[in-house]
């Protein structure tokens, strides 16, 4: 008797979301099957890789990151160019670390000017992340939305505590919001409902389920993403039928293990390879859980992950 391969019967699909300059026609999502299950349904848009750029030189960071980017350390425009030209980033994520109220506490106006400068200098889609401080992000990201009208940014993290203000600005100035909740499927659904009630169209929402890196909660993120994708595709949960974004570089490279030198942790092996593999394994797992956009930091990781995507997409 012939073996019958089991097949999932999907009742929902992920919405297709345009990102960046509409004339370029860049799309994410549209998945009609589970991640890389191209044999079960159409996967029209391969996952995309963004590289992150810091708006201010990081105080503490892994030696390999410092070596690679120290020439562009204090110039986000040049840093973004390097990621695009040398490492082939599909998009750029600008991290507004300088706005942290517990750090430099740079003003919303200054931050927005910097975002505009970077947006003007690149022609790939731009993601902008605040510091996850609910009040400060509310001011900063609203200002970013206004100053960068027409740039079709993706801005986040938009949380339950500031979704109204940032969401309203995103509607007014036509940007996409990155809806962020703390690794919880019910809260993810709730925030999407709230954004919908506010009037943010589905085509302007990405889900950020909160990323835990390898050894730091990866399995929780994986499990919640998997459940979000199942709810969307086999349980017709319309509020979760949206692409997911994972901010991986930031999480992985801030860990102790990614920063320790060979002298500090000889048992963990070559520090560069260690950090790259921690980032690549996190990326690979979250792709399998349904990530549509990954934000990565190390060019070697980008290379590894890109080849994985190409092989699995066929």
């Amino acid at each position: 008797m012939a073996v019958e391969i089991p097949k999932v019967s999907y009742t929902g699909k992920i919405k297709t979301i345009p990102i960046g300059d509409p004339s370029k026609g860049i799309l994410v999502g549209g998945d009609e099957a589970y991640p890389f299950y191209g044999f079960e349904g159409a996967l029209p848009n391969a996952p995309r890789i963004a590289m992150d750029v810091q708006d201010t030189p990081p105080e503490e960071c892994a030696a390999t990151i410092r070596e690679l980017f120290s020439d562009v350390w204090d110039d986000p425009v040049a840093w973004a160019q390097k990621c695009i030209q040398e490492y082939g980033a599909d998009m750029i994520d600008l991290e507004l670390a300088s706005t942290d109220p517990n750090g430099l506490d740079r003003s919303a106006e200054e931050a927005a000017e910097m975002v505009k400068k970077v947006a003007d200098s690149i022609d790939v889609p731009l993601i902008v992340y605040g510091t996850a401080n609910v009040e400060k992000d509310s001011d900063v990201l609203r200002m970013v939305c206004e100053v960068c009208e027409g740039r079709h940014l993706m801005v986040g993290p938009v949380q339950e505590g500031n979704y109204k203000k940032i969401g309203a600005a995103a509607i007014a100035y036509k940007h996409t919001v990155i809806a962020n909740t703390p690794i919880d499927i019910n809260l993810a659904k709730q925030l999407n409902i709230l954004l919908g009630n506010l009037g943010v169209p589905d085509e302007q929402i990405l889900i950020d389920p909160t990323t835990g890196g390898l050894g730091y909660g990866l399995e929780y993120t994986y499990s919640v993403m998997e459940r979000i994708r199942m709810a969307a595709m086999v349980q017709q949960d319309e509020k979760l039928q949206l692409p997911m974004i994972c901010n991986i570089g930031k999480e992985v490279w801030k860990t102790k293990e990614a920063k320790q030198t060979i002298e500090e942790a000889p048992e963990l092996g070559d520090p560069t390879q260690r950090g790259v593999l921690m980032e690549a394994i996190t990326a690979q797992d979250l792709l399998l859980a349904g990530a549509n956009i990954l934000i990565l930091r190390h060019p070697e990781t980008v290379k590894l992950v890109r080849s994985m995507i190409q092989e699995l997409m066929g």
Binding site: I185, N186, L187, K189, Q190, I193, L194, N197, A231, Q235, D237, K239, L240
Partner: protein, 299 residues
């Protein structure tokens, strides 16, 4: 399906802002008043929850049982994890309209060994709480295993099945939605595994953490799903009138509608009132047909 189930009032609780201090200071006024109000509200049992009571537990339980029995004849659930306090309460308790009930005995060897002999010795009932050695059960099967263990140990000790009140534990819908059908599922197999036993449920936990104004509809809907699953009683807010109406068979149409949702029948939502629509949506969330979010009624 039961059309009339018993209710245990949950309001005599150490976490209350007035009753907690009254218990600490052994001030009988507020305790008596609450026991009287619960009795007037028409509950069948009163739960006396004194918390873990690590210090002075036996004296407190003895005192509160006496105090409450001065004003009500209703049987009492003795609710604490302190074994000595349970024994002190059982010793003091005077059966008027029924036995005292130990709340609760978990399916953990230590708890079973300590508490089952006490319930047997004092001719008391017991809540068989399906909490195992590793904590919360993961599904109906684990609950089934725990109910069998408790049933066997209790009946061997001489406790009658009708004095065993099985509670399969309900989890808050906003954190462990997937466990709710497993809780309901246990009642559906309970009589095969533990014939003649009764049942109960710590129902308010289902809405713990949900927005306050939405807790009543979650509790009420869950009670109806429990009744369809064969539950015989529940521990509830003694002053929630709609819960009383549901438990006493005064809402037959709504109860029937919930049965249809549970059986997966097609429901023509356009023919339902706003209120009925809300109950159907809530039942669908509790049964896991749609994913919980705080705004489930708005979808």
């Amino acid at each position: 399906m039961a059309q009339y189930i018993y209710l245990t009032g949950e309001n005599l609780n150490v976490i209350s802002k007035t009753l907690g201090p009254a218990m600490k200071n052994k001030d009988p006024g507020p305790i008596r008043e609450m026991a009287e109000r619960e009795t007037e509200a028409g509950v069948d049992f009163i739960d006396l929850n004194i918390g873990p009571a690590r210090k002075g537990g036996p004296e407190l339980m003895e005192w509160i049982v006496k105090t409450v029995q001065e004003v009500t004849d209703l049987p009492l659930f003795l609710d604490t994890s302190n074994v000595e306090a349970i024994e002190a309460g059982l010793k003091t308790y005077q059966p008027k309209k029924g036995k005292a009930i130990v709340n609760s005995i978990m399916a953990r060897p230590q708890r079973m060994e300590a508490l089952i002999p006490l319930a047997a010795k004092y001719d008391a009932g017991m809540v068989a709480l399906l909490w195992g050695p590793e904590g919360m059960p993961r599904d109906t099967d684990e609950r089934a295993m725990f109910v069998s263990e408790l049933y066997m140990a209790a009946t061997e000790a001489g406790i009658q099945p009708e004095d065993i009140y099985v509670d399969p534990i309900v989890t808050p819908v906003n954190v462990q939605q997937d466990q709710i059908p497993h809780c309901l599922g246990l009642y559906q197999v309970q009589q095969d595994l533990a014939p003649g036993t009764r049942s109960t449920n710590g129902l308010s936990n289902v809405s713990n953490g949900s927005p306050d104004h939405l807790r009543p509809i979650l509790n009420q809907t869950f009670l109806m799903l429990l009744m369809h699953s064969g539950v015989q009683g529940a521990i509830v807010d003694a002053f929630d009138q709609p819960l009383h109406d549901i438990a006493r068979g005064k809402m037959p149409e709504l109860l029937e509608l919930m049965g249809k949702v549970m059986d997966g029948e097609e429901i023509d939502m356009s023919k339902l009132s706003k209120e009925e629509t809300d109950y159907v949506k809530t039942a669908r969330v509790l049964l896991g047909h749609s994913l919980y979010s705080d705004s489930w009624l708005e979808l």
